[in-house]
């Protein structure tokens, strides 16, 4: 049995896929890993490149070609087909640190925790720098029981797709099925399996390299506005998951998924209150969502009153009061320039 299945979602990444595969096809661990690449209706040469790797490593590399269904659909396929004891996602434009990855797979062979977490870093090429996301509050190789664990110790609030390796059986048991043709489904991936997790272990290995080549790749606020319907769909899923599980799971697990939901709610309100330039439309849409949240669950609704811009805008019924006086606007502009 393979110890690890690496699912590589592929969509038009012919320029990056070799880097991704080269970093994991390492002679020391070839027999221990399975790489499932899912070409999600790629129109470029990605599948042809993967076929070359498949020919060279027939016992390790699998290529599944399917019609476009979005990132979530590739993960759904991967979970179904995986034969590895553990399961990890590696996006085809990202890669791993090979040295630490070898150590990781070797350690994983003796592992039995439900989840293994590690460190990762973002490669911000346009700024010529890296940003490390290290779990500095966790101890290397320590087995943690999630229900007894202080979740405030988690760096960046939660374990992300980039640093999480789940037991495949846990993923299946959780019934995780990500939305298809929808953005932001990684949030589903981050919370649903956690409901089934009892133990996790931290490996102090810096593995995942999250590649951000352009500034707009990470910070494009317009993308949030454009894909706001997807954001809302996933948002509602998270809220409903919280509501459904509040009394079913341990307090710790609930607080964990509530925290993720709160973080996403912050972004969701920001899309309308800050990023969306068509304020009339924004007002219409966010009022509807705000009513949905109020009707759905008062606990989470009240939590969002901790967000200043949400609380203030609620008071004005999301009218987004703005300065219309041209003179004051000009003055503000000059002050901004001077400083």
């Amino acid at each position: 049995m393979k110890v690890l299945t690496i699912l590589v979602p592929v969509y038009n990444t012919e320029k990056y896929i070799s880097r991704c595969l080269d970093s994991i096809l390492l002679k020391e661990i070839l027999d221990d890993i399975e790489i499932i690449t899912v070409s999600d209706g790629s129109k470029d040469n990605s599948a042809e490149i993967i076929k070359k790797y498949q020919k060279k490593y027939p016992d390790t590399v699998i290529l599944i070609e399917k019609e476009n269904g979005g990132h979530g659909s590739t993960i759904n396929v991967g979970i179904k087909k995986a034969t590895g004891k553990y399961f990890r996602v590696l996006d085809s434009d990202d890669w791993v640190n090979s040295i630490d990855f070898i150590k990781f797979v070797k350690r994983l062979k003796k592992e039995n925790a439900d989840l293994v977490v590690d460190d990762y870093q973002q490669e911000l090429i346009y700024e010529s720098r890296s940003e490390e996301i290290f779990q500095n509050n966790l101890k290397d190789n320590k087995l943690y029981h999630f229900d007894e664990f202080d979740i405030t110790k988690i760096e960046k609030d939660y374990f992300a797709m980039a640093n999480s390796t789940y037991k495949t059986s846990i993923l299946r048991k959780s019934g995780l099925k990500l939305f298809e043709k929808t953005f932001y489904v990684d949030m589903q991936y981050n919370i649903i399996p956690m409901i089934e997790i009892d133990t996790f272990r931290y490996y102090k290995l810096n593995i995942y390299r999250y590649f951000i080549g352009r500034k707009d790749q990470s910070m494009n606020l317009q993308n949030f506005v454009r894909n706001r319907d997807d954001h809302e769909r996933v948002m509602k899923f998270l809220i409903e998951t919280c509501v459904e599980n509040r009394n079913k799971i341990s307090n710790n697990k609930y607080k964990y998924i509530e925290k993720i939901t709160f973080n996403m709610l912050y972004t969701h309100y920001a899309i309308y209150c800050i990023y969306f330039t068509d304020k009339n439309q924004a007002s219409k849409e966010i009022k509807k969502f705000d009513k949905y949240l109020y009707d759905k669950d008062k606990v989470i609704y009240n939590l969002t009153n901790d967000i200043n811009f949400v609380r203030i805008n609620r008071k004005t019924n999301f009218k987004f009061l703005k300065i219309k006086n041209k003179f004051i606007l000009k003055l503000l502009n000059i002050i901004k320039k001077i400083f």
Binding site: D22, N97, S130, R209, F211
Partner: protein, 422 residues
Amino acid sequence: MKKILVFSWFFPPINSSEGLVTFKLLKNSKHKFDVFTQKNNNLWSYNSEEHSLTSENVNRIFAKSDNLKSWEKEGLEYYVDNSDKYDVIMTRSMPPESHIIGLKIKKYNDKIKWIASFGDPIANNPYVMMTTSQNSPYSCKNRYKNGMGIRWIVSPKRILKNIIWHLDYGRKQKKELKKEQILQKEIIENADMLIFNSTYQKNYMLKGYSDDIKSKAIILNHSYDKSLYPAVSKKESKKLKFTYIGHLDDIRTPINLFKAINKLYKNDYKLSSKVEFNFYGNMSNNDKLYLLDNDLLDIIKIKKPVDYITSLKIMKESDYLLHIDANLSSVLGENIFFAAKLADYIGSGSKIIGITMLEGISANILRNLNALVLSHSEEEIYNYLYLIINENYNINMNKNNLDFDAKEVAKIFDKEISKYVK
């Protein structure tokens, strides 16, 4: 066969990429060329030792002057005195003064056919945009970098200085940019044929121009000349030899490569017995200091600049050739600069590792040749160096690279000339 007068400030014996590119093209063309150049000024720290680079169809005329302004004047006078000898004139930048001569000649004789061949863009050069600081030293944006205290931040003196800086700098910048834009526009509109080295460069420089203007443009790849490479027998060495040849500075910097090597070195103290990195040519003091500070001189060696033929020999002898472009991601979505050295690397047949922007001309060329294309990420470079040194990662370069063979490129050049000049 036509007689063509070429104006190029740089040309062998001066060792400069601009001159060498032009030389290889002309040498392989079927036409005859007189190249009006100079050998007194090796501005940009080029040496002038390329005496072996001569060709029967290329005659050089050396100006007496040693500065651009008088070279421009002398060039124009030469043409006026000899105008009846030539069917075509060709001007090659950088620097752009050769095109200024072209403009003046066109005004003097509008019947003459003029080919303008571009090196870097004259206006809105992304490389220059990177080097020119857009931020005032008095701006609060730099408060962390410059360690501004609260008193200095709120000080009226700072605010006033900031306003003055913006007024003065903005005026100077705008004036300079306008001048460059006007010059570039005049060249593009008045020349009969425009030569660019890639579609990326063409699209960047001809953005917003009419189809008529765009139809004057042709793409001529930088090229290698097989006949110039000396024969070498590759020595069997235990060490993998990585080589960089060419100009480096604070913008086109190898710092991420150095950091990656440093990281490898710290994890593998035997690294110096496995690999060596040789750098030929200019390098910024900051990068040299990094090597000193991190005790990397055992593994990364800075060599003296070499002449062109020797550089070709070194390329053939190397296991891996390193190509490094500037990271212009903050000002440009794709790299538009096709470094001439890359063509020589390709001609050498050695394996190439390109550290470049993942979109753009270098990445495109290298991908088509199945070379290794890396971003400027220190981590990515580190990982691939590890794979090459420890995991026997292999780069299988395509052997079919005729698109960059000077003979093939010159054929396109000749064909285009025959279209324009009956």
